[in-house]
């Protein structure tokens, strides 16, 4: 039973969402403030956090940043549509997905299950490899779902990991934002491509890419993103 932490200040919304999600089969802990949320995060150890962006006291954005400081638990933001700036800032602060209020319980449940699937890994091409694959100084372990750069583990949130696995499974291939939205977020074709852009940005930062000159994930203007093709170090490249 997935454990879900709901941080929502409005009592009616909190109770309604808690009730609906419990009926969908989740183990729900609901709190009203960001401070309480940070406490329950340690004691409850949720599988996913649903976070209202508009919170009294510690804001949703602040909560998001604090969680991400040492925790890669999936975060779904609940926002009011039109708060475009908040959505972008929230995504860049590390949120994996967002929903626009008012949201029906079944839509929220679908998003929660999609984000949980990302954590579980699964068939994303190239599985069954006995050992981690290497791209330059980056090693990706598809079975163990870990990534390391120069031997140092890189902690990745589920969306970031999933995005990297999909892109790196086919180096040189260009993925459109719509394809990535469908593959990583399980959104419709017309979803918000800012999810992809924000996630790529976070991923580049975590991989230590120099600003403006990404080595691993390149932007293909007008089309989308591609993972760089590196020459296999075992086979010297023919000059």
């Amino acid at each position: 039973m997935p454990r879900l932490l709901l941080i929502e200040d409005d009592r009616a919304v909190r109770e309604g969402v808690e009730l609906a999600l419990r009926r969908q089969g989740h183990d729900v802990a609901a709190v009203a403030t960001g401070e309480d949320g940070m406490d329950r995060l340690r004691s409850f150890r949720p599988d996913v956090v649903v976070l209202d962006l508009m919170l009294p006291g510690m804001t949703g954005l602040e909560v998001c940043r604090r969680i991400r400081a040492d925790n890669q638990v999936p975060i779904i933001m609940a926002t009011a549509r039109g708060d475009d700036v908040d959505i972008v800032v929230g995504l860049e602060a590390g949120a994996d997905d967002y929903v626009v209020k008012p949201v029906q319980a079944r839509v929220l449940d679908a998003r929660i299950r999609a984000v949980l699937r990302r954590v579980g890994g699964g068939s994303d091409g190239g599985d069954g490899l006995p050992q981690p694959e290497t791209h330059d100084d980056l090693s990706i372990d598809r079975a163990g779902l870990t990534v390391a750069r120069q031997g140092v583990p890189v902690p990745l949130a589920p969306s970031e990991l999933r995005l990297l696995l999909i892109l790196s499974a086919a180096p040189g291939r260009v993925f459109s934002r719509q394809q990535l939205l469908e593959a990583v977020w399980e959104h419709s074709y017309h979803g918000d491509s800012r999810l992809v852009d924000a996630c790529v940005k976070r991923l580049r930062t975590k991989l230590g890419e120099p600003p403006g000159q990404p080595r691993f994930i390149r932007t293909v203007r007008g089309f989308g993103y591609q993972f760089s093709r590196f020459t296999d170090p075992a086979r010297p490249a023919s000059r």
Partner: protein, 489 residues
């Protein structure tokens, strides 16, 4: 001056220069003419008086020596003697007695003497003079009758019948007059120069505030309502600048007030929708619970519960549409452009709503309709038009997309959505994109919020595209959307 005024020949500066020059010329010429006239009259008068006096003195001194009645040679000698009294002047003298006449210069025809003057001297027995123009310039002709003194002859003071005429050229007088005219002419040129300089100075003084006004007006028109003029002096232009400043201040205040009102209205709309959204969020979260459990309730309660659930979903959609519209009104709607294949996008829009079999499509081949659009907004456009056709028109509903490449402009993706219903009444056609417009007042509430087509139109316009509604000749309505396919932005 940063910018020259693009003035034609009738510019203020030119007009001032011309006016000043005219005034200067008129003043100089008038003064000159009056001076000339007065001086000329005086000069001529003086010259005439001198000549007449000298002539009379000459005649008086010579006449007593004339024997009477004179012979032709007497007359000849008389005339010569009179002429000699003034050796320096160029005197020509003629003496007449009855039909006899003789001149100081032999063979002189004395053409200047008119018969009228000759008669006048004979009959009036008084000194007569006349200015005449001759071929050699003006001349003064003077006639004097010689009378018998009472002591000289038999006591009658009657006319002797002897008359003396003098013709003297007036060249010197004409010379004075010419000199006067030349002086006036010479005075006119410097006066003109001074007048033009003054005109330019005056023009600068007038034009500077006028230019300042002009550029300030332009700045106001460009929206810089804080523009004010520096006011110097207290003339009419300063008054105009004051008025300008007052007007600009009033305008700025009005605009600020309007902006404040608009901001208040916008904040109110945002507050209202936010307040609506929070309870709606709670209600929307539990509609699924209501739907699931309605089956186990008694029929009346079940109906009530389902009603609440359905209407909550509709209310949520209406509030969502209201929010969307108010964002367009506030100018806060952003385009998140992404390069997509529009044909694929349209296909996905229909498929995600289960309309892929109900709506016939005619789409361009893959990758021929690529362009930068906002995918979410394109989805809204397609879904609203298709949904509208299915609700208000009749099947079959068709959607066709073509790519047009007008010369010198972005290529356009043209999307047409056609239904086979009765079409749109003519009186409704101009209002189909109006908010909450109901074509038939008696019509019951439809599934839509009443904002669908307005939002569609706003989304099309946000892309820089156009949308039109029309009726097809064969029946049925057609909505046509043209979206520019920006490829390199």
């Amino acid at each position: 001056m940063r910018r020259r005024l693009p003035l034609p020949g009738g510019g203020l500066r030119m007009r001032l220069v011309v006016a000043f020059a005219l005034v200067a010329v008129v003043a100089t010429v008038t003064t000159g003419a009056l001076t000339f006239r007065a001086a000329r009259t005086d000069l001529l008068q003086q010259g005439q008086d001198t000549v007449i006096t000298q002539f009379r003195d000459g005649v008086d001194s010579v006449a007593p020596g004339v024997s009477f009645p004179p012979t032709r040679s007497d007359l000849q000698s008389f005339a010569t003697q009179v002429a000699r009294t003034q050796r320096t002047a160029d005197w020509r003298v003629m003496a007449t007695y009855g039909d006899l006449s003789a001149t100081s210069q032999v063979g002189d025809g004395f053409a200047e003497l008119t018969p009228a003057m000759r008669d006048s001297v004979g009959t009036r027995a008084a000194t007569v003079f006349q200015r005449v123009a001759t071929g050699h310039g003006p001349a003064l002709v003077v006639g004097i009758p010689v009378r018998f003194g009472s002591t000289l002859y038999d006591g009658s003071a009657d006319s002797s019948g002897l008359a003396v005429f003098l013709t003297v050229p007036q060249d010197s007088e004409q010379g004075y007059v010419d000199a006067l005219v030349a002086a006036v002419e010479r005075a006119t040129v410097p006066a003109l120069v001074v007048a033009v300089l003054l005109a330019l100075l005056a023009a600068r003084g007038v034009l500077r505030p006028v230019r300042a006004l002009r550029s300030a007006t332009r700045q106001i028109a460009e929206g810089h309502l804080e523009t004010r003029l520096a006011v110097h002096g207290s003339d009419e232009l300063a008054g105009l600048s004051h008025t300008f400043n007052d007007t600009a201040a009033a305008l700025e205040e009005s605009v600020a007030e309007l902006r404040r009102m608009e901001a208040r209205a916008r904040r109110f709309a945002a507050d209202v929708s936010h307040e609506l959204r929070t309870p709606l969020a709670a209600m929307a979260a539990v509609t699924d619970v209501l739907d699931e459990d309605a089956a186990h309730l008694d029929p009346d309660t079940a109906t009530a519960v389902r009603l609440i659930s359905e209407e909550t979903v509709k209310l949520a959609r209406l509030v969502d549409d209201l929010m969307e519209i108010s964002r367009f009104d506030a100018g806060a709607a952003d385009l998140h452009l992404d390069e997509v294949d529009l044909a694929e996008s349209v296909r996905r829009s229909l498929a995600s709503r289960g309309w892929q079999d109900t709506i016939g499509t005619l789409l361009p081949p893959p990758d021929t309709a690529r362009g930068r659009v906002d995918p979410r907004r394109l989805d809204v456009i397609v879904a609203n038009l298709a949904g509208n056709a299915l609700r208000h028109g009749e099947e079959p509903v068709r959607l066709a997309m073509t790519v047009r490449e007008p010369p010198g402009a972005h290529p356009l993706a043209v999307i047409e959505v056609m239904d086979s219903g009765p079409g749109i009444p003519d009186d409704v056609l101009p209002h189909v994109f109006d908010r909450f417009y109901k074509s038939d007042t008696s019509r019951t509430r439809t599934e839509g919020s009443g904002l669908g087509l307005s939002i569609t139109a706003e989304n099309v316009h946000l892309h820089g595209g156009t949308i039109t509604a029309a009726n097809r000749p064969g029946g049925g309505a057609v909505f046509t959307v043209a979206l520019p396919l920006r490829r390199d932005v």
